[in-house]
Structures are given as C-alpha cells and as structure tokens.
Amino acid sequence: MGFILRRLGFYLIAFWASITLNFMLPRLMPGDPVTRMLSRSQQRLDPQQIESLQRLLGVEGGPWWQEYFGYLGRVLTGDFGVSISRFPTPVSDVIAAQLPWTLLLGGVSLVIAVIIGNLLGILAAWRRGGILDSVTPPLLVFIGSFPYFWLAMGALYVFGVTLGWSPLRHAFSVGMTPSWDLAFIADVASHVLLPALSIVLVSIGGWMLGMRNTMITTNAEDYILMAEAKGLRPRRIMFNYAARNALLPSVTNIGMSLGFIVGGALLTEVVFAYPGVGYQLLAAVQGLDYPLMQGLFLTITAAVLLANLLVDLVYVRLDPRVRVS
C-alpha cells in the first residue's frame, strides 16, 4: 500500500510539472495565433480586422501569471476553452471527435504488433540459430528503417490503388452513418486494416528483438535447466517458465506505447486520410492554437501517466520482488 501511495504522489508532481510545461512551451514560440492565421490565409483577411479578431478569439493576453492561474483552474475543472484554429468549437469537442479513431488505429496496431512481435521473439529465442532467428530480425529491422511515409504510400498504392483490396481513405465509407450494426463495423474494420498493418510493419521489429534478447537471457537461468531436468514438455517451459519471466520489460514498453497512442499517428493520418489527433496537433502547433495544444498535450500526458500507473500496478501483481522492496 505504501508503495502505491508513494507512486501516486510521484504522479501528482509529474502531472503538475507537465501541465506547467504545456502552458509555457507554446508561448515561447514566435508570433501569435492571429498573425499566423493571417499569414496562412495569404491576405484573404483584412489587416484592419486583426484587432477585432484578437478580441473575438480572446488572445489579447494579460500578465502571464494571471493566464497561468486561470489555466490551472480550468484544467482542474476540465474546461479547456475554445479552439482557435477551429474557432468557435470547444477544445473538448475537437478532441472528442478525433480521439476514438486514434485509439482504434493505435490500439489495433499496438495489439497486433505486440502479439505477433512477442510470439516471434519467443520462438526465435527458443530455436536459437534457426531460420526464424537468423532471417526475421534483420529483415524486420531493415523494413522498419524505411521512411514510414514511403512505406505507407507504397502499401496504399499496391493494396489500395492497384489491387483494390483496401479502401483509399477515411475511417469508413463516405455516406455511412456511424452505428453499432454489423455492416458498419465491418466497414470500419476494412478501413483500419491497411493503416494499422503499415504501422505494425515498422514497429514489429522492435517488439520482436526486445523479446528475443530477454528470452535468451532467461533461457540461461537455472530454473529453465531445472524445468528441463524435471522432464516438462518444451512448450510448457517456453511459455510458462521462460516467456513469462521475459515478459516484464515488454510490459513496461506496452505501457509506454499505450500512453503514446493518444498522440496520434500523424503520417498514417496524412497518407490514409484517416481521422485522428495527430494532424490536429500539427495544425494546432502551426496555427499557435494554445488552447487546443494544451488540451492535446494534457490528454497525452494524462494518458502516459495513467498507462505508467497501470504498469506499476501490474508489476506489483506480476513481480513479487517489487512488493518486497
């Protein structure tokens, strides 16, 4: 219990530090939202309108500390204000509209990459020096080091344009209305598959290598020898003795990745025209949309901290040594 309380205290301080950074960093960038808007519109906005726009968007500013405490208060009450680049849509609406798609895309690709990557790692380490062990890791690392943009465009071209197996854009067919009926779910699944697989392709190598390396260390442990000496079936030793113990670093990584899913997958969103928060974040940074940036950063921070907390809790369950220390 003391362990968990200490962790909670640590997370509170980390949370405060990160929301403060969220407040400061965007304000260190040059320019202000209205002139950004003006330069992007290439003079389609009338310069005389700038003051009125600043007033309308509420970016006239005050002393920074006044803004800061106002911001802290609003964060605690869950009010992120109104987005500037999407004015007058509230930040929470902007994020809420995108987040489900980001979670779906990130979640599906993470689950596939983790399961397949770890399985490959376990098998490769178990048959050390076998075909799987000598061919797959270099191949996956090779693919993973391609520029993602190029790889995704190639996949879209081959499977979308030429073969026609995959839709070319968006999260579901245009004209459909989101609902829970089977036809819509199937449509969403067919749209998420190719973007998710493109992410899996570049990320799976890391999972596999990590698992393989830990497994090799675990395989040299005495209790594996002991299990073999007892005459247990190899499959049981591989999964229940070796893999289970080698899984801990992977769990940490899963936690980290879970948190970062919320940041979105910018390039995937651009190539596959998939909705999500990644492009929204880019647009917010380019347009100096402070409220939206703060909202998104805060969501990411909260997700990363929450995922880490979960990992800590799972660790307590998985690894008795943590409980003791």
Binding site: T35, R86, F87, T89, A97, M153, R169, G175, T177, A273
Partner: protein, 545 residues
C-alpha cells in the same frame, strides 16, 4: 500554404492509370452528389458560422449568399440577392434593391433588416468597413448605406458580404461563438446531412429562389490532411472537382481520361511579387530594383518554377484579375519586366554597383552586393522560383542566397521589416485600389521594428497617395479608369516591388458525372471552391444524362 506546397510524392502513386467507378452513391435515388475534396482540413467541425475565420467549407459559398458577385475571370459583376444598386450623386451613399422573391431556407422572406443585422454583426465581430456611417432599411427590400467619406471600392466590399438572417442571428447570445450547426441561408444547398469529421453532405434548399438552377442532387465535401490524399482521390476519379495544387496535372490527372478530365488555371489569383526591403540602402534606388527585375528570366520562372501554370508579369504589376484596368500603353512602353541581362548589368554599373575583377558586384560603399531571398520551406514551387532568381542574378554578378525556414518565421521577418528580400503574395480585390495602396501608399508604411500586415517592403510615394485618394473619391467610371492608368504609370516608374507572375487559380474537374463547368471559352466563374464565384458554378452544373 498547402495549396502552393507541392509534394511530388503523389506522382509515384499516379504512375499508372486506374480508372474506377463513380463515387459511392448518396444513398438517395437522386444520383451521385457533387464530390469535392478539401485538402487542408484533416477533419471537419460542424461550424457554419460565416463570421468565423475557419467555418466549414462551403459556408459562404453554398449556404449564405451576397448581394452581388464579382467574377474576376470575365471582369463582370453578377447581381445576386440584390437586383440593382445605385451609388448617390455625391458618392456618399449607395442603395441596394434586394430581390423580392428570395426566401431563407426556413421559409421566411429576405428583407432589408437582414442586411442591416449582417453589417452590424460583421463590424462588431470582425471590424473593417471603417468608412461606413450607417446602414438602414428604407423599406422591406431596400438597404441604404451611407459613408463618412467617399470610398468608391465600397460597392464591391459591401456587395460581396454574405447576408445572414436577422430573425435567427438576433436570437444568438454570442454570435461570435455560435457554431450555427444547423444553418439557415438563402443559398442553393443549405441542408446539412450526415455530418462526420471526415465528410458531410449539403442537400438542396427547399425554398431556393432559383429552383430551376438546383440541378445537382447535392454537394459532398471530403476532408484530407494534405494534397497527396486529395490528389489521389482526384486521379482515381473519386471526386468531381479538384481545386488543389496538382504537380504535372496533364500526365497525372488529365491523361488518365482525356475525354472527361480538364483543368483551367486562369491567372486571376493575387499577383506574386519579389519584394525588396526598400529601407535597405541597396534597394532604395528604383534603378537598382529595375535592374534586378530585368536580370530575372520570368519565362523560365513560369515554365520551370510554376510548371507553366501561369504567365509572366508585366510593368503594371496587375494580375489577370484586373485585366479591365490594365493600361496597354504602360505595358507596351516599359522594358523592366523583360529579361535582358546586359541592360540590367549596364543599369547597375550606372547606379554605382560595379563589378570587381572577380565578376562580383559591390555596392557604392564597397560592400559585396549580396542578400537573402526568404521563402517558406513548404512552398516547393516558390522555392524553385527563388532558386531560379538566384541563378539569374549570379549571371550578372549579384550574390543571392535562398533562405527557407518555416513560413511563420519568414512572415514574422516580413511583418517587422527585418528581412532583405522575399517572395510575397498581394491583395486581390475587385478593383486594384487595395493592391496599389498596400504596395505604394505612405499610409501603409510602418517603420522597421513595428509590425505591419501589408507593405512589407515599406515603400511609399506621396504621388500615389494623392492618386489613390482621388480614386476612392470618384464614382465615375472613366475618371476611375484614368486615375488607375496614372497609378500604373507611376508603378512602372517607381518599381516599388518586382512583379513575378499572377497566382493561378487552381481548378480541375471531370465531366464524367456533371457538366456545365466554367472554361476559358465560357468564363462565367473561376474553378475556385472558396471564392464568391463558387455559387455561380454550383447553380450552373447539371448531372450527365
């Protein structure tokens, strides 16, 4: 910037042909919807507030309409919600006579009070219209605008303001923050349907005042987070109208289906200028600016840098939008926009910028004649233009370096005057008044260090002030024409900026599902989807039988 920010990657996707069936159906029996991509919005928000700087696409095109529409492609003015208008004799007021048969999409009639409310809101929320004294509803269908000073460009500014219904907007507590998710407008396609973050449909307005012109079943907008996705959709035949920049459009787009696919890039966009910071000694002399202008090869800039999508500028600095105002005598008379490296070199020699033994020129103070050309890094087409300029200048011994950080940093430098040279857009309005005002009036000049949003090059001429003031004060057409000719002569004498080319108005379409598009032969509008003329296209298209 995405429009100009060409990314060649889509070329790879477009290498082979691949025609596909029509876009997915609308679910209605009415036939396919007119499908249009929007390349710079990754997702849509249901915000149809015309006063918002980032309303959903088509808000001010197909939902709300203006009293008149100026068509830059043909230079004509189309009466729209107003059937006629009369400026007063003294130039201090103008009367708009509204059509009597116009209804809002909720069935209420359009009245002059709507105009009054619109301008109240516009001035309260967004400012502008400083010359406007009062807006009154004389009767149900007559709106009277009075001015506090004579200002002839007012007619188009007032006429092109989209009108909102007073009976709806006076109810909103905070009109500026209103998302207006179920808009009531006078336009042809007002009924929002199936709004999703990635797409939405606009269906016909049941009360439209020109029912015979609502021939298409509706409009469908698709969201894209960049040009590549939108171009792929166009190349694949999934959209009907492609208003975004497409590299090498003939082979990537048209050649896939030459029978149906067409593009038309009239040079009616804003003039693109190479602006020299005239507060710097080296650019203070008009002869030096002219010499630099003569040193650059505009044919090469247009053909290579802009893929042949536009035409070289002339000595009036006017884009194709202002063809009616262009004084052909000025064009014929001047040579400083023609490529002539020898004359440029001679002019620089005369001005004291002589070449040393190594061929590099120095300023009269003995400093090397060298400077930066600033362009935002995402605009690959303008970047290649800047590189061509740098090469051309190298030929006459002038050292120009292309500097390409993020656009925000470039523009910040323009605004405070802390830049040397840069490639910059300009104002584009129905008359060249705003354009010349921003480029050479002393009123628009701010000292270096103080932020300005026009006249980045900080050049002002009192002669130009006088002519502009006279132009604003006169409503007689012949007199306006004469003053504009004088302004063009003055511009040609002073060379306040180095004009490069008029920005092309991008637009491509396919006649596979809809016909009746504007073309070079029938320029009733441009192919822009964000311009006041867009509604003219929407009310002219019809489905293929």
């Amino acid at each position: 910037m995405l429009r100009a920010g060409a990314i060649a990657a889509v070329g790879a996707l477009a290498l082979t042909g691949c025609s596909s069936g029509p876009a997915e159906d609308a679910g209605a029996d009415a036939g396919p919807l007119l499908t249009i991509p929007r390349e710079d919005m990754g997702t849509f928000s249901q915000n149809f507030n015309p006063f918002s700087p980032n309303a959903a696409p088509m808000t001010t095109q197909s939902i709300y309409e203006s009293m008149l529409i100026y068509n830059p492609a043909d230079g004509n003015t189309v009466p729209w919600l107003a059937e006629s208008w009369e400026p007063s004799e003294d130039g201090l007021s103008v009367t708009f006579n509204l059509r009597k048969d116009v209804k809002w999409s909720d069935g209420e009639p359009l009245v002059a009070a709507d105009v009054v409310t619109t301008f109240e809101l516009q001035r309260e929320l967004l400012g502008g219209f400083d010359y406007l004294e009062t807006v009154e509803a004389v009767d149900e269908s007559t709106a009277l605008f009075t001015f506090n000073k004579k200002f002839s460009p007012a007619l188009f500014e007032l006429g092109q303001q989209v009108i909102v219904p007073a009976h709806i907007w006076s109810e909103f507590a905070e009109p500026g923050n209103e998302q207006n998710s179920v808009p009531v407008g006078t336009g042809p396609y007002t009924e929002v349907s199936n709004f999703q973050a990635q797409s939405f449909d606009l269906l016909p307005n049941p009360e439209y005042w020109q029912p015979d012109k609502q021939k298409i079943p509706g409009i469908r907008m698709l969201a894209f987070a960049g040009n590549d996705g939108a171009n792929l959709a166009a190349i694949n035949g999934d959209v009907d109208w492609a208003p975004q920049y497409m590299p090498d459009i003939q082979s990537t787009f048209v050649d896939k289906d030459p029978e149906h696919r067409h593009y038309w890039f009239p040079p009616t966009g804003a003039e693109i200028n190479w602006q020299l910071n005239t507060t710097l000694d080296m650019f203070a002399d008009a002869d030096v600016r002219k010499a630099l202008s003569m040193a650059i090869d505009r044919e090469q800039i247009v053909d290579v840098g802009m893929s042949g999508y536009t035409i070289p500028a002339d000595c009036t600095g006017l884009s194709g939008n202002y063809d009616e105002w262009r004084d052909e005598d000025v064009v014929a008379d001047c040579g400083w926009t023609e490529h002539d490296a020898e004359a440029a070199a001679a002019l620089l020699d005369d001005a004291g910028y002589t070449a040393g033994p190594d061929g590099q020129r120095t300023t009269p103070d003995g400093e090397p004649f060298a400077f930066d050309i600033s362009v935002g890094s995402t605009s690959s087409d303008w970047l290649s233009v800047a590189n061509i300029i740098a090469q051309n200048l190298q030929d006459i011994g002038v050292q120009a370096t292309v500097d390409s950080p993020d656009w925000a940093a470039v523009v910040a430098g323009y605004e405070t005057g802390e830049f040397q040279t840069g490639i910059v857009w300009s104002a584009n309005a129905p008359t060249p008044y705003q354009y010349y005002r921003n480029i050479m009036s002393t009123e628009s000049v701010k000292p270096v260090g103080e932020q300005t949003f026009d006249n980045y090059h900080r050049f002002g001429s009192e002669e130009a002030d006088a002519l502009l003031a006279e132009f604003a004060a006169t409503t007689e057409e012949a007199e306006q024409q004469r003053l504009m000719s004088e302004l063009q002569t003055l511009y040609s004498d002073l060379a306040p900026v180095v004009p490069l080319f008029p920005g092309p108005e991008w637009g491509a379409y396919t006649t596979e599902r809809f016909v009746g598009w504007p073309t070079e032969e029938n320029p009733y509008a441009t192919l822009a989807t964000r311009a006041p003329t867009t509604v003219l296209v929407l009310t002219s298209l019809e489905p293929v039988e």
